[in-house]
């Protein structure tokens, strides 16, 4: 028996609904239908009245979540695709994110964003929006890369008293499998060293963790390079302790992400390492992101819009040859 990434998300919601009466689910087609990706399959029957179909009203969906949170609940909102959260942008960054600072009253909502590209999903069903939400004070933004993290981090997100943007990667849904869900006790906000190494550090998150590990394995086989891969897990706030400790060991940094290149996680990581760990760097830090265009539809274009093990290796070779 194996469990995949989307199963873990389903299981986490099952656990949360079972253990906490204040949890409920709200989103488009999530009730009897089980959601566009089946991440809520069976929950409507198991928890009658607690898994609600919403109209196509993303702005109001987040408003509902905030109102319910102010009235003692811990709603989980499923956006059908991360891209459609652009409609809810105002409610997320201005209503939910500012509320605690303004009033001292917490807004424990979790917004699930099916993120990232898959072949053929095109410009409006492929976006990675973590940079957008991370920019705003008052939000926690997480992006699990493993089956177990998908489970535990969703549970931790819902338990947190602050609004959490939970970025789940659609490419990992069924592609990523584990034999079971394990816990390693890491809290939200802590990064993980996915692959220890000594010659250089790749700092990344979400689906790109797997591309980084693949590139690292290839480089190890090809030429004996030993690359460390750090999985940020939480992109806001960043676990700079783990990142800096890794760069201290390796002296070399590649920040890797699937999102658009201007700003974002890779810029923040590189800027902070440059500022806080300048003396640790033996070479200029590098970044690798998607190309600076919308995400294209055609699978071949899509595949080379985002970083690949090949483009990661090119970047790493330049980093290592410095």
């Amino acid at each position: 028996m194996s469990v995949n990434y989307v199963d873990a998300i389903l299981a986490a919601q099952d656990t949360l609904l079972r253990e906490d009466e204040s949890v409920f689910l709200y989103g488009q087609d999530i009730s009897r239908f089980g959601g566009a990706f089946k991440a809520t399959k069976g929950l409507a029957d198991a928890y009658p009245g607690r898994v609600l179909d919403s109209p196509i009203s993303e702005d109001a969906m987040i408003g509902v979540a905030v109102g319910a949170a102010l009235n003692g609940m811990r709603p989980i909102i499923e956006m059908q695709f991360a891209d459609f959260s652009s409609i809810a942008f105002n409610q997320i960054v201005n209503q939910a994110a500012t509320h605690f600072f303004r009033t001292g009253v917490e807004v424990p909502i979790t917004v699930r964003l099916p993120s990232g590209g898959t072949p053929g999903s095109g410009p409006f069903h492929s976006q990675s929006m973590e940079a957008i939400y991370s920019h705003y004070p008052g939000l926690v933004v997480v992006a699990p890369a493993t089956v177990s993290d998908a489970y535990h981090m969703l549970i931790q997100s819902v338990k947190l008293d602050d609004p959490v943007i939970y970025c789940e990667h659609k490419f990992l849904y069924r592609w990523l499998k584990a034999s079971s869900i394990n816990g390693d006790g890491l809290p939200l906000g802590a990064a993980r060293i996915t692959r220890p190494g000594k010659h250089a550090t790749i700092v990344t998150y979400s689906a790109m963790v797997h591309e980084a590990v693949r590139a690292a394995e290839m480089m190890n086989e090809e030429s004996g390079w030993d690359i460390e891969v750090v999985d940020l897990r939480t992109v806001k706030p960043l676990d700079m302790d783990t990142v800096l400790a890794s760069v201290a060991r390796t002296g070399r940094l590649l920040a890797l992400g699937e999102a658009y290149p201007w700003g974002g996680v890779t810029a923040e990581v590189v800027a902070r390492v440059a500022a806080e760990g300048f003396h640790l760097l033996d070479a200029p830090p590098r970044r690798l992101n998607s190309r600076d265009t919308p995400v294209p539809y055609y699978p071949d274009l899509w595949a080379s819009h985002r970083p690949t093990p090949e483009s990661i290796r090119v970047a790493m070779r330049e980093l290592l040859s410095f």
Binding site: P55, M61, G67, L70, T103, G104, D162, P237
Partner: protein, 354 residues
């Protein structure tokens, strides 16, 4: 479902009538002082008054039950807030930036609330509170506590053009929530007249399109306002689903106190919508015998005192000190980092509402 479900005519409850008028007087008095403080440079940012809208706003606040209902007032709801039970000093403290106010200087003027006491603290973005109140009510329903509760919010004519308003009211209708939406059609959104804001004959025509009950009222007619708004709250409470009340009136001041509102034509000001609902109310109350003129004069004097005190106290209050401020937008950073950060929130606790 008829748009203009006739509200059961009834002789208005005297306690209700008096409480609405008391809130109106307090609001009018307080806001007059706020305008002076603004002109004297004592308040920065802006001052936004509800002058001319006190009747409907107060009628709504008074019809709600502060012990169980949820209320999201908007820009021009000093009267509604007061009637609902928000202490005057919440207003002055917020305008003056006192750390003892509910917003502790972090937010100002009308952007205040007491979410724990079910007064939502509005954000500026118009229309955004409709769905928040809906969510609050859904939470009550999920806990089986919705019976007998009502949620209410106010919007202006301009806010009806927002997508947020539309999504919120539609969703409330789908869920058949006990939500009362008071649309104060004061003919203008800032400088923009109704003719550039919507094209329907009457905003009330929207109600049928959402499948909610609609009511229309002359917002300058105090007794009508108390009756129609109160009736809508009653119907929501009784399980008839969302209620949309459109009140026609005029804002008797600028959009904010920086604005001379020259764009409002004289015909409107001197026409029936230009009547001052506070003056109308006084006449109606005395005429119908809800209170004697002398008693109302006494109220006025008492209020003067109360308002003066709310201002004086807020002025004396400590103001936020950037060096002592906890510059932290997350509540839970401690939990997130296993104790690395330890500041507690808030530094200086806000006093709670009575």
């Amino acid at each position: 479902m008829p748009d203009t479900e006739a509200l059961t005519p009834r002789s208005l409850d005297s306690v209700r009538v008096r409480s609405v008028f008391l809130a109106m007087l307090k609001a009018r008095q307080l806001e007059t002082k706020l305008a002076s403080l603004y002109k004297a440079g004592k308040i920065v940012g802006g001052v936004y008054l509800g002058k001319g809208q006190e009747a409907v706003s107060g009628a709504l606040g008074a019809a709600l039950d502060p012990n169980r209902d949820v209320f999201a007032p908007l820009i021009r709801d000093q009267a509604g807030r007061t009637a609902f039970g928000e202490p005057l000093i919440d207003c002055t403290r917020t305008y003056l930036g006192s750390v003892r106010g509910p917003m502790r200087g972090r937010d100002g003027n009308i952007h205040r609330g007491r979410p724990r006491e079910r007064i939502i603290a509005m954000i500026s973005h118009l229309g955004a509170e409709v769905s928040v109140v809906a969510g609050h009510l859904i939470a009550s329903r999920l806990r089986g506590e919705l019976e007998g509760r009502v949620g209410a919010t106010c919007v202006g004519d301009g806010a009806t053009s927002t997508g947020a308003f539309h999504e919120g009211i539609n969703l409330a209708a789908v869920e058949r929530l006990p939500l009362v939406i008071l649309v104060a059609n004061n003919q203008f959104a800032y400088s923009t007249p109704n003719t550039r804001q919507f094209a329907c004959d009457r905003l009330m025509d929207r109600a049928r399109g959402y499948g909610v009950e609609g009511h229309e009222v002359d917002g300058t007619d105090f007794l009508a306002a108390v009756e129609v708004v109160g009736g809508a709250v009653d119907r929501a409470r009784a399980g008839h689903g969302p209620q949309m009340v459109v009140a026609n009136l005029l804002r008797l001041t600028g959009h904010g106190e920086h604005d001379d509102a020259r764009y409002i034509p004289d015909e409107l000001r001197t026409g029936p919508l230009g009547r001052d609902c506070v003056a109308v109310a006084r006449e109606q109350i005395v005429a119908a015998g809800y209170a004697a003129a002398a008693e109302l004069d006494q109220w006025q004097a008492d209020i003067e005192e109360e308002v003066q005190q709310a201002i004086a106290e807020a002025q004396r209050d400590p103001k936020p000190d950037p060096w002592k401020e906890r510059w932290q937008a997350l509540s839970d950073e401690r939990g997130l980092f296993g104790g690395r950060s330890e500041a507690a929130e808030p530094t200086e606790p806000a006093e709670s509402a009575p």
